[in-house]
């Protein structure tokens, strides 16, 4: 069998991502799960790299692995108040299991369906030339208003979350 370096890299990275993603679900200690999540993010970033989307990969590392996961770990550590070994156990509650199963079936079905019915092009050429310039043009040129609106929405969401958590002052 003849595999190129790129294929090998993809197989390794995909396997790594899947394994760590499984770890997120299966570890009993939720802190371990969170750290597995970081690795999963890194694996995804690696896949971006193999697809010559370096910028996206780095943003994936910076935002997801570097920032979001720290946030997740922080949140876990702040609210965790019990034996860490028992924080990520399967729910003993039948309705929860039912709901989980249902959601899983739905998700897998949607994924399989979308993959099945999409006609993928045989081969996608890597973005020629300056991928950064293209992205910049899209984000800060054509779609600058949606981008800023999204940023504003996120800001509002953050402020709202803080108010929800701390409670507004009643005067």
């Amino acid at each position: 069998m003849d595999i190129s370096l790129a294929d090998l890299a993809f197989i390794i990275l995909a396997g790594f991502t899947l394994l760590t993603a499984l770890g997120v679900v299966l570890f009993k200690n939720i802190v371990h799960s969170a750290i597995m999540l970081v690795f999963s993010f890194l694996g995804v970033a690696g896949i971006y790299f193999t697809m010559h989307a370096g910028f996206l990969g780095l943003v994936q590392i910076l935002v997801y692995a570097g920032a979001i996961s720290v946030l997740i770990i922080f949140a876990i550590m702040l609210v965790m108040n019990q034996d860490p070994e028992k924080t990520n156990l399967p729910s003993p509650n039948i309705p929860n299991i039912m709901a989980g199963t249902y959601l899983t079936i739905l998700l897998v079905g949607a994924l399989v369906g979308s993959i099945w019915f999409t006609s993928f092009p045989e081969k996608v050429a890597p973005v020629s030339g300056d991928e950064l310039g293209l992205l910049t043009g899209l984000m800060l040129g054509d779609y600058v208003i949606p981008l800023e609106l999204a940023a504003l929405l996120l800001l509002v969401a953050v402020v709202g979350a803080i108010i929800l958590a701390r409670g507004a002052e009643h005067k």
């Binding site: 371990h32 590392i61 692995a65 550590m77 860490p84 950064l132």
Partner: protein, 346 residues
Amino acid sequence: MEHWFTDIAQALVNWLMGLGLSAGWADFVLLIVQWLCIVMIVTINVIILIWLERKVSGFIQLRLGPNRLGPYGAFQTIADAIKLLTKEDIIPSRTDKWIFMTAPLFFIVVSVMLYAVIPMGDGMQVVDFNVGLLYFISIGSLSTICLLMAGWGSNNKWSMLGAMRAVAQMISYEIPLAISLLGVVMIAGSLRLSDIVVAQGNIWFVLLQPIAFITYFIAATAELNRGPFDMPEAEQELTAGAYTEYTGMRWALFFLAEYTNLVAVSALCATMFFGGWQGPGLPSWLWIIIKTYLIMLVFMWMKWTFPRIRMDHLMSFSWKILLPVSLANLVLTGFGLEFFKWMGWW
């Protein structure tokens, strides 16, 4: 002298291809060899640096520093390394073992990975990434998690406090760090580090971007967890912060990683603001070494002179002073560039 290392690399690739490997695989092997070289460079640098730090602190503190082992105590670090290697590896029983054990490994891996994009001479770069600067910053942000892992895994309040401080500090200082570097990027017009070096052919960016340099330098000190920003370690307050429970080689790995980071950040500083490997007479790789070491001496000078800043001052300094200043610098640079273009000077 200039092309020693690039010639060796080229010869290696030619030899491998002569053996019948495809170009891709030959590059892959070369990559591995380059990584090994980086690990070697890091190790040698750290050995020199620890010795240098002791000598510098000795000089500042009117002491001699190490002077028993070898000429001017040069082998002191090696003796220390042997001592640390042979020390008992104590893992406290109530720790989260896997996290505790792997945190130092990840920390050192992350800090070594930083070197991939640093141009260590003309054409001497492991990967000449088109978004090299972003790579540096995003990989650098990963070390936060390693410190958090160390603090959490130790199951010790001091460690946890140290880790919390580390996270708060590193996340807040990453922002001014990145924004201050953006000024340079705007002038150079590229995130590729080799382009940035070439753009400084006529004038170093430290002269064009003095404010960015100062904010970068301060934020970098905080990112490195070095004095006066050594909050996460803070031996006078947190005993040793996140490293409190670590012994022997695991502790040494943290130590190693901190110095590795120091070299990387100093090298980046030289690349971004001091013309990188460019310089008259000497070969390019020597120039970057000289510049990096000079910058590191300033870091050491700061560490051994200043007291430690308080945590709340540290945070307010980042958000209230450093961030606005670096943002203002960014705006100023934008206006300046447009003005230059309008005047036709650019």
